[in-house]
Symmetry: none
Subunit: 260 residues, 2 copies
């Protein structure tokens, strides 16, 4: 299971990203999912100040590192994973679907955790440019590739995702199991109502049906066992029962007060 | 396991989306993952032609439907799921982490697949505006909520994702298991009631509360959004709704006949 310290050993590398908004969107997704290490490989200066869509991501952008080549950007990494939309390109690398890739990355981090080497293990996840993806030369720096499972295109063009969305989906998958567990621990699902409460509610309903004349008009729906099943199918929570009870008491009072 | 026909029964509803680029990004993510039904709830005309970032998504945008309210947009849906960033807001709904939510949605589609009812089951996944998310009134139309597990913010502000990224992550999770999973056993659970039916039931309950004097005695429990949540928590089946409706009609008739 990935922990915070492990997340800090995952590096997101953007190669030839052209649109500053996309770089901003990537930084925001990193911030949202708890990743902090962004590296950008570009031949020309990166317009970070123009990364406007990066709400909440300024810290990630401030820490971002710029490199002139993929080789330099991944030099300190022990595992380099490329991302690809597959398509007609002939792949020279092992390819894993995202959720399998994520499990492998987790394993790698877990293993190096246990090793006694002094190396700080680090994993690079590389994303290519919006238009062309990663070139064969860039891919050659990767140990293996991952792909996000997408809808087949009818015209067999290789599909490609928006860069910010692709990064968001990959990072979500990496933290999916960790954060899911944390959140679930905190969520407080309401307690179900007890059988005794549901039985009291059933009896109230029987009275309402009886006293409004429903039983006379619809005897087939008024059988006690049938009403009980109907009430049980409501699947109420413990806090809902008193509210329903209060409503029915008021109904009964009103019906009786009205008189025949 | 979700198949193509099932994906077509999932509707993405955007409420008060302000930025056309975000609508475009949502449409693109839908196209990437094989979803086609987009519904937009907005008070003013939606600038679809400005949804520039929607590479490959024009078909989704062309099919998009516009509605004036959440109630109308989800009227034909049997399960309405809201999305939320949690945070400090006090939730009135059951909350599920995305991957659990996805399993529930799969179950719902699988069950209704096997039922013999003539209803076409449909699931709505609702996303709120970029700035404010879904309002309490909008949330009251939801059966339950899902949240994408994210990094805790240091300042405890509730985190929120970019709209296009949030939709991409949710849709990815929905199709994640499509490949390489065995079909699950056939279930014979009855079909769920549609949102339109539940809304009619809510309105009947409002009348009962009003006319029996419950509203006067318990104003705190009689707020429309609160009654709607109470009714949705009943989790009724399509066959139960007419029975409840009949009982309430009889109650109303009796209450009115009794007179003050």
């Amino acid at each position: 299971m990935l922990n915070e310290e492990m997340l800090d050993r995952i590096v997101i590398v953007l190669v030839r990203a052209r649109n500053p908004n996309n770089i901003g969107a990537v930084a925001r997704a990193m911030h949202d999912f708890g990743f902090g290490r962004l590296r950008v490989v570009n031949e020309y200066p990166v317009p970070f100040e123009a990364a406007k869509s990066a709400v909440d991501a300024s810290e990630v952008l401030a820490r971002a590192e710029i490199f002139g080549s993929v080789a330099e950007a991944v030099a300190d990494c022990t595992l380099v994973v490329g991302t690809t939309a597959v398509g007609e390109r002939v792949l020279q690398h092992p390819l894993h679907v995202l959720h399998e890739a994520s499990a492998r990355i987790e394993d790698e981090l877990g293993q190096s955790e246990d090793s006694e080497d002094s190396i700080t293990p680090r994993i690079a996840l590389i994303f290519g440019s919006e238009k062309t993806g990663l070139s064969n030369d860039e891919l050659s720096h990767c140990n293996w590739l991952l792909t996000i499972p997408m809808q087949e295109q009818e015209d067999l063009r290789h599909p490609s995702m928006n860069l910010g969305q692709a990064v968001a989906v990959c990072l979500y998958e990496l933290v999916r199991n960790v954060r899911g567990r944390e959140l679930r621990g905190r969520s407080t699902a309401p307690a179900a109502a007890s059988a005794a409460e549901m039985e009291r509610l059933t009896q109230f309903w029987m009275q309402v049906m009886e006293q409004t004349g429903y039983t006379r008009h619809h005897p087939a729906n008024s059988d006690e066992a049938q009403v009980r099943r109907l009430v049980l199918r409501m699947g109420l929570t413990a806090t809902d029962v008193p509210v329903w009870m209060g409503v029915l008491k008021q109904v009964l009072w009103k019906v009786r007060a009205g008189g025949e």
